[in-house]
Amino acid sequence: MIIQLIVDRLKQLIPALLGVALVTFLLVHLIPGDPVALLAGDRASPETIAAVKTRYGLDQPIVVQLFYYLKNIAMGDLGQSLRFRIPVTELILQHLWPTALLMIMTILITIPCAIILAALAASHQDRPLDHAIRAFSVAGIAIPVFWIGIVLARIFSVQLGWFPVAGFGEGLWDNVYHLVLPSITLAIGIVPVLARNLRASLLEMMEADFVTAARSKGVPESYIFKRHVFMNALIPNLQLFGVIVAFLFGGTIVVEKVFAIPGIGQLLISSILGRDYYVVLGLTFFFAVFTMLVMLIVDLVSMLIDPRLRS
């Protein structure tokens, strides 16, 4: 059953990737600005720029470039970065780890917080605590991520010095230490969304018939909440969680700029600004594959929990 799901998803992935490749390739080439002019610098003569362009094959018509690009992808070669002249895959891999760690830490902060807030709000429905949590969640959604980042950095890094201001550091623990503030910044944006929906599902499940049935069997409330209410409330929220994780990339771009984290969000921005076509394409591929992967994992986990999906 699971292999079937994976095969379906892969079948879905191929056309989507092709669509993504086409759209991005045209989009990136339409952006005004010439990468080679940027590379050679202002003082380079037109002849020099023309010479460099021929070497990279950028003087070919777009359609020819697209053809070669698609041919190379088929063989797994995502091309070379125009700016750094190293394979795109290598460049992405170099920058993948900071963003991956940032997302992992953000998720590790988001899940428990969202669950605790949702559970508290649901159990104290329409009482002061519920309103407080709802107000916080509304505020969380309304504050721009970069504003949170700047303020947190100002207070906790510069003034109090508890955390490093920016950068990524050396070695795992130093990396984690550097990413504490950035992941909190990101989590503040996401926890409210997840908490609000989880609260809604929890309230719905607390009224479910099988809860009354369990109560009629003398089963204690804590067990009912854990085994009956929470598990059933989880399923619709897994989908939402998948969307949020895929959505997280937008947030990482901004946070990486504020905290100068050398992740793929920063790489994407500098590649777009530097018109480093193949890096932008490689990254969009990566995002597409990553989003599909996240959706797949969410489906697998849902199947694990819900037997109805397994049949």
Binding site: A208, D209, F210, T212, A213, A214, R215, S216, K217, G218, V219, P220, Y223, R227, H228, M231, N232, I305, D306, P307, R308, S311
Partner: protein
Amino acid sequence: MSDEHKIAIRVRDVSITFPTEDGPVTAVKNVSFDIRENEFFGIVGESGSGKSTVCRAITRLLPDRAEVTGEITVHAQKMLEMDLDRLRDIRGNGISMIFQNPSSHLNPLMTIGDQISETARFHYKRNREELNELAVSTLKDVRFSNPEGQVNAYPHQLSGGMKQRAMIGAALACDSKIIIADEPTTALDVTVQAEILDLLIKLRQERGLTIIIISHDLGVISQLCDRIAVMKDGELIEQGRTEEVILSPKEDYTRTLIASRPEAIRLHNSAWKGEPTESGNPVLAVNRASIYFGGQGRNAVVKAVEDVSFDVMRGDIVGVVGESGSGKSTIVRAMINLNTLSSGEILYDGRDVRNFKGAERVNFLRKVQMIFQHPQESLDPRFSIEQCIMEPLKLHKIVPKDRIASRVRELMEMVELSPDLLTRRPRDISGGQAQRVCIARALAMEPEVIIADEITSALDVTIQAQILRLLTRLKEQMGLTIVFVTHDLDVVRTFCNRVVVMQIGKLIETGTPQQIFETSSHDYTRRLVAAIPHLPQGLSQSETA
């Protein structure tokens, strides 16, 4: 205790009110009754009578905001004053409950084995193997065919009947002596209902249980219970031995309840011979019709209707009867192209219904009107009643613009509804009233044929009786032909003059009600007829109009 049997449950002057935005609503007004040890006690009443609310109060399963006054004792223990731990001890381990809709009362994510052993787990703290053994033995007690295999099944893999048995198992896992069954068989097909009722009777003997049965179906209650209580609008208006209450009811309401049962009401006037018209060509002819769903992708083909043929003669009332999944709704919906036939044909006055296009299609649809099961759901929630009825009149220009308003009032009178309902919204009127609006809307099209798809199944028995009387009167007044789809055989027996019996997409037999109910040769039909719960003998022909 005063009389010979010990009292199991004593309910004294219990009243229950719920605070709502528009002020407190009293659902139960000082109800009192006693239930003796090992007795089958039935509580009957229509929706909103408070019957299940009072029973849920016994084990305090009502939501916290409910205010319960009065006194409830189980085996001399005061339930309302009991502390929570003591209460939790008794629940499931002294007094258990069974509910109406088994699929929503079982956690879809847990195996039925776990949900049964769950009860014991918190009362006796057994280890895994012992709990598993308990689950298997309980499944055996509730007549599961292969307990060892099915203990790990999930609710969605079981049929309605099996799920109900699992729920009964869960209630009995810790040898509870008192079972409160809240409409245990209402959601089940009549044959499955019969099996569950038999099971309850056997379990009562095997385990010496005291059982309270709550139901709106007088037949189910009278077949099972030693003593009955009748509730109306939150009050317990009558209680006593079953025969006394049924044969000589003291209250008028009880009498109307008994009189409203299909087998009791006289629908057709004396001219109605009830003989189906044999000759002449049929207004609707179903020839070897089959309807298959699915088929693409991995899911297998579902054969909803397989090679079914029958005729509907003008002026007849044809009852299409069968259990859920028999395909009865699917085939009638194909008559107006709501479903597409996979093979075969349906003719209206000799022409294939699929060939009507453009203006012809509208004329055909005006002639053949369909009414649906859920009245509130068949009316656009954002329309007023007037708009609902007026819409077909305006769109098809059935009457000139200036006469629309008066025509709408005429239609309202025809279905016995007062005009001041016109400004209301569908959700602000009762189920019965909504169904009458649907009938009025259908009549606006001036049809020849009415297809009624389970139109009374969602209504209380008293309201069902009124709708059937209305339909009979309209049929005679306007010479309608009616195709009446239902799972309730009693209704077919008294209302229809031709019957079509279907099972899992196939046609079993057709004939007059008399042939089907008395002389049928098919064992499925006979099993269906036998499963109908009846009132005690010597009563069914009472003369009340």
